[in-house]
Amino acid sequence: MLDSLLALGGLVLLRDSVEWEGRSLLKALVKKSALCGEQVHILGCEVSEEEFREGFDSDINNRLVYHDFFRDPLNWSKTEEAFPGGPLGALRAMCKRTDPVPVTIALDSLSWLLLRLPCTTLCQVLHAVSHQDSCPGDSSSVGKVSVLGLLHEELHGPGPVGALSSLAQTEVTLGGTMGQASAHILCRRPRQRPTDQTQWFSILPDFSLDLQEGPSVESQPYSDPHIPPVDPTTHLTFNLHLSKKEREARDSLILPFQFSSENTKSSLLRQQALLRPRPGQATSHIFYEPDAYDDLDQEDPDDDLDI
């Protein structure tokens, strides 16, 4: 399912984290779109164009249309190089296309935009861009549009993330275990129940997608087939087990405060000895010296209880 994410079109959210970065998957999907003959636009805000293009061969690089918002996104240099209207202006311009060729727009990253633009404005533009191929009554046939948005989950509260999530046709949440990356894919098809699936994968050096079954057993860090497992109960300085004789002695031991249900003479004698000390036996006394501030009340505090 991971390799057919863009077939549906619409907004695809790639939710990554510091530990499991999503740019590699974004680049892998961009490469896939380019190889399918789609028009691919990149809105690059977080990394330089050189860094984004690194790892792609020249064939792929020639098919990418890169909009650079990394060098001077806020127009601090006051030159005219920056695209008028910034990244949002570039996105809005893409709403006006009339091309029948399918197009993929990669936002690197959606988090960068969400931190600097009002959430409602961004959602409106995203909705307009990702749904322009499904406008009813439109005579021109605009090609399928897929918008890939890289979202760094830890940067935003539940409100904005929820708003983007409700706009998205597909959500991919990256995670993993034992060095193996996984993608939890939630897919919303129109008039169908949402489906979800977890896919293990890795990205090859040329940014091809390699789908896998799951974390391989051999990748567990501490198991080595050549070293037999060590039994920790050998060479102890104390006993962990009882011998037969010790077990019998333990089972036949009479506990001091455990009285048998049969009223045998020995049991009764033991009970009396414990509960009623014999005269002459040393008993404990409590000596109480009241302080000057103590308020000694001779009344029984339980008198008012109606028992």
Binding site: V18, E19, E21, R23, S24, K27, E46, S48, E50, E51, E54, G55, F70, R71, D72, P73, L74, W76, S111, L115, R116, H152, E154, L155, G176, M178, G179, Q180, A181, S202, I203, L204, P205, F207
Partner: protein, 193 residues
């Protein structure tokens, strides 16, 4: 000596802050935001960095591959700048130092830990996503130890080389000495072996 050769440019934030607050400035000061009621961005501070990195017009060879050390960004939050403004400053520094001049940046930021500081968390996570290498210094879970001062977690993030060891995360323990730090694997401090 590095300072004399022009190899080190040092902005002493505390001293500069006193200058900008108590003395009238003719030109925009790197810490201009301290005087402004609604300072929106750290553009003057970035322009100071960019000026400092401009090659000096002299007969000597130009310094190459600069390193920008920032100690520390959490102070800017405490002084009233928003997390996004600080991230914008770092973004522009990255564009100049790393992309244009092929240099490196080392930035220190504090983790608010259990104290829920939303702005600091945005700054910390935003920086982490921009970083290729994250070094996390923290105390030992078991508390203070005279011979092991803390542990360092190292996380490599190299999205441009995805096949290079996904699980490149190491943890070392360390002891700080007079002028150096000694590192050892967990549990392997000479004091406990």
């Amino acid at each position: 000596m590095a300072r004399e050769r022009g190899q080190l440019v040092f902005l002493e934030g505390l001293k500069s802050a006193v200058d900008v607050v108590f003395q009238a400035q003719k030109e925009p000061h790197p810490l201009q935001f301290l005087r402004e009621a609604n300072a929106g961005n750290l553009k003057p501070l970035f322009e100071f960095v960019r000026e400092a990195l401009k090659p000096v017009d002299s007969g000597e060879a130009r310094w190459t591959y600069p390193v920008l050390l920032v100690d520390d960004l959490s102070v800017l939050l405490s002084l009233g700048m928003g997390a996004v403004a600080v991230l914008d400053f770092i973004h522009y520094c990255r564009a100049t130092v790393c992309w244009e001049l092929k240099g490196n940046m080392v930035v220190l930021v504090h983790d608010s830990g259990d104290a829920e500081d939303e702005e600091n968390d945005i700054l910390l996570n935003g920086l982490s996503h921009q970083s290729h290498l994250i070094l996390r210094a923290e105390g030992l879970a078991t508390g203070f130890c005279r011979d092991v001062h803390g542990q360092l977690r190292i996380l490599w993030r190299r999205p441009s080389q995805p096949a290079v060891h996904r699980d490149q995360s190491f943890t070392y323990q360390y002891k700080i000495q007079d002028k150096s730090v000694s590192f050892f694997a967990k549990g392997m401090s000479p004091a406990v072996l």
